[in-house]
Amino acid sequence: MLEVEGLGHVYRTASGEVEAVRQVDLTVAEGEIVTLVGPSGAGKTTLLRSLAGLLPYSRGEVRLGGDVVRSPHPDMALVFQDYTRSLMPWATVRQNVLLPIRKKVRSRAERDARVDAALAEVGLADAADRYPWQLSGGMQQRVALARGLAYRPKMLLFDEPFASVDAQTRADLEDLVLDVCAHLRMTALFVTHDIDEAAYLADRIVVVSHRPSTVRAVLDVDLPRPRDQVTTKSLPAFAELRSRIFPLLRAESAEATA
């Protein structure tokens, strides 16, 4: 579904050119959950913004369902890292979820049905008339996810969405992502710097290097589904996966600080 070939991105700044992404190739098949894990400052956000069509890339090509992506694609929705900034504080939860489909969906009844379904999907049916700032961080990120779902994309992109919530909430949100993707047969690319999260969610893990990003390894994950925070994470295969990713990232940060 998503094909990335030879993607590179160079920023032009006052002091010259900065290469953020050197060479990234990856594919995400339909219905697959791929996680992209890399150290902090790996240019992951730059990479994701390029894939989402928000940032023009310098080299290579991104295709979604065969279309070359140069601007945001209608089959793709992005869940941002910072939920306090990605939701409109002046709008209720319902209005926030409604935002992407006000013009896209003509019938009011259909719009309302979509919003209700999306909120039910993330377990927030009761919070529709509240404001984002009245909700906990975890609930706000659910609203952001519901907004993506109401858009009815074929693919969801996540940019380190759970980086700033507590551990318990994070586990709940990870399970929510798995449930939603399974239920809606959603394709997803999930960016994170957390190794456990990358392994727990993924069908495949793409490990990227420190800036300028290149793909260091692609690991297939054959942990059984449905996954469970306790049983999956105590499987020997999970531990083995962690131990394969960990050195890849650590070697990176050692090089970066050296």
């Binding site: 945001p72 992005l78 941002f80 900034r85 409109m88 992407p100 006000r102 013009k103």
Partner: protein, 257 residues
Amino acid sequence: MTRLLARTATYAALPLAVLAAWWYLTRGGESLYFPPPGQVFTRFRENWLFALVPEHVMPSLVRMFSGLLLSVVVGVALGVALGMSDLAHRATKPWLTLLRSTPGPVVVVTFLVLFGTGSVGKVLMIAFVSVFPVLLNTVDGVRAAEPVLLDVAASYRLSRRERVTRIVLPGALPQISVGVRTSVALAFIVMIVSEYFGGSDGVGYFTRDSASGFAIPDMWSGMLLLGLLGIAVNVLVAVAQRRALRWYAGARAAAKS
């Protein structure tokens, strides 16, 4: 309830003290320019409850609110246009700042020459002076739009119109309202001054006319009314603002905790 009483007492203490001093100092009643408060209150009642309200108060308020409305509409529309374009912003900013610094009285005289002493000229004067705080604050508010929300708008392929009405304008509203508060104060001043210089109605005209006819208690009653109107207009705008920006207060409180 006791707290409300205590607060009211705190606020009322100073004006009551001034009133008492005024009453004490004018108890002889021999000064032409400083009549005792009782006399002023009597004239106030005779003039403003409500005999001269249609003749003087209504024209003043209608002109002020017309000018204010015009300045808000023009200021917000122009401010969004300038705020959304980097080039337009750079090209106009210094000139807008310069124009804003034009003193009100200069504007009043110029507009009197250009448009005469009728209501249209006065409304335009009020609008011209009070458009700048709205305009400059709108530009700033628009330029400070949350970049993540602009990304959200782009990624969901919102139209330019939706981006402005759903994201940029609501986000700029707190800043715009700061400008409106300043504009209200300016509009009120220009309303009075414009009536001083010309015309045949309005509270400003009445006050100046009373002064030049040595109808001193009438003059004081006009001043008192202008003060009270000023307070009333401010309270009205503050209440409207608090209602429109309830989300802002809530979000700020939530961010602090």
